[in-house]
Symmetry: C2
DNA sequence: CTGAAAGCGCTTACAG
DNA sequence: CTGAAAGCGCTTACAG
């Protein structure tokens, strides 16, 4: 079933059929339009996407690229939520969503040319790992959670600095004086480094001394059976009353570990996370954390990209979703 | 940059270039092959996907369809894991993954014709909601977690019956006699109905009486503030010592609710989940549950589909991943 | 071993 | 208001 079959059935050229399908109806009589539409309905005709894409040089597909951290790209609830937000906007704008995880950053460049998409969204890329920025000139692309001064593209992120500043301040306001920051390894600049900066500045503001070896602990991947790591944690935590974590998932893993090692939370140590995962309401104690609306982040990224594709104009380059403190049960007030 | 540019540069026809690109080299001299390949490298030429798709009538895209339960299609950790499993296989076979959530089951039929994919994977479809099975005749498709006798397509599932049988048996073996089964609403036949059947048969085997109104509680969506639901739960649980849940996430939500209402788990009531989400190791107490390898399920579904697409032969129709009991801390032994 | 030709299904000037 | 023609970039018999 092609455009020609419809044309034949109606008694016009396939050109005319194409015109009515594409709404170029100023060239077609109402009578013809109606006949064509009726035939299309009747035959259940659907235009061939590939032919259309070839002729238009546009596929109506948007690609999203996930750096494959630690083997499984979707397990992280953060990724699922972003995807949810992106998918709903893309779907309702009649685009399609193609998903791909990549192992090395360089793979992006191949995908860019290789992949016939109208634009793409790149997730959680650390700026300095991305040297050939000029390659992105001709393709509509929006980044999510990338910090990189030279990035002249739309970037949708959260207010990581302010969020972590508030997290640390919450502990300070509750009388805590010896704080620590536990995080996955920190690249510069990145979401994590901005959170660290917020933490640091909160201490500064209260004139509490800070030095990296004393107040920061970086963990590659938490594993309760890896004594090298667990000893580090136990040691780090010993002389502190409150810990900020750069991510809920890490906070929760470590919290469980501490509980199993005789710590009572928040009595012995207070904990603040970051992300406000659903998960954080299900653990004991419920986690005090920084909320960021991840689904909304996905929505905005997708909307921005579609705007770029369709109107070829860039809008605001740096979009920051606000964050807010959610107080639950993992922080104790010190007298 | 097209196939013709390469051809011109090398001094052959575009046909020849196409032939070497597609490995039809029995028709081409080694010398020509080398020259063409060299030119391709040099120019960084990449074939246009849309043109290829049009000429081959094959897009190398696989679509995956998620029924959109409760608004956000990826939030469920189950979905993320399935997607992880599917994506990795698809990627390594040089296919692309297109993702779509649908609101009504009927949307599938439109997608099938509309979407130019080589095949697709349909998730968690309840069989009887799918009346027009003959429509699937001509498209490679594999289902995941669909129970439907008339389904003459590959279906990848878990051994839900045996899993829940083992879950209930675990409680019985620990001396529990008054058991309940709490589940999301149960369709027939479905993953949940099979789990219920396993539960029921486990009771039967031990000659413990069962009746639906007494031993089953269905919950649409758990919400701790909806007293209609919470009262039902409190009431249901009152005269029981052990509860099987049809899903970890529900088990965990209800467990938190019970803890907040003065229940001590597992002292007052024992709980067994289903799924073995990562989450179930992070709650207190850690959840005893039935493990199913969801990522593997995704792997197998993708492999089966690719086999169908490339070799046009169906294989084993019903593939069941095995399940196993994971004993943690949420079940107490009754004396 | 190589190339001229037709075709995949659509879109888009352009002529009438 | 309608249609003949060329083109999007590739593939695939088929002739030589």
């Amino acid at each position: 079933m092609t455009i020609r079959d419809i044309a034949k059935a109606v008694g016009v050229t396939h050109t005319t059929v194409s015109n009515v399908i594409n709404g170029k109806t100023n060239k077609v009589s109402q009578e013809t339009i109606d006949k064509v539409n009726k035939a299309i309905k009747e035959f259940g005709y659907i235009p061939n996407k590939n032919a259309r894409a070839l002729a238009n040089n546009s596929s109506k597909i948007i690609g999203i690229i996930f750096p494959e951290a630690s083997g499984n790209f979707m397990q992280d609830p953060f990724h699922s939520q972003i995807l949810t937000g992106i998918e709903s906007v893309i779907s309702s704008n009649n685009y399609y969503l193609m998903v791909k995880s990549i192992k090395k950053y360089e793979d992006i460049y191949q995908l860019m040319t290789n992949w016939s998409v109208d634009g793409f969204i790149i997730l959680s890329l650390v700026g300095h790992q991305l040297p050939k920025l000029e390659k992105f000139k001709d393709v509509p692309v929006v980044f999510i959670d990338t910090y990189y001064d030279e990035l002249k593209h739309i970037n949708v992120g959260s207010n990581d600095y302010q969020g972590e500043f508030n997290a640390a301040s919450h502990l300070l306001d509750n009388g805590h004086k010896s704080l620590g920051f536990i995080s996955y390894p920190i690249d510069y600049p990145s979401v994590l480094s901005m959170r660290l900066k917020g933490f640091k500045d909160a201490l500064n503001q209260k004139n509490i001394s800070f030095n990296s070896s004393e107040n920061i602990l970086e963990i590659g991947k938490f594993n309760p059976n890896d004594t090298r790591i667990t000893n580090k944690i136990l040691n780090f935590v010993k002389n502190k009353t409150g810990i900020c974590f750069s991510a809920d998932i890490l906070a929760i893993e470590v919290m469980e570990f501490l509980k199993n090692n005789g710590y009572s939370i928040p009595n012995d140590i207070s904990i603040v996370g970051f992300d406000n995962l659903y998960l954080s309401t299900l653990v004991t104690p419920k986690l005090t954390t920084i909320n960021q609306d991840i689904v909304k982040k996905g929505n905005i990224a997708a909307e921005s990209l579609i705007n770029m594709i369709e109107q070829h104009k860039e809008e605001q380059l740096n979009i920051k979703i606000s964050t807010n403190l959610v107080i639950r049960e993992s922080v104790r007030t010190l007298l």
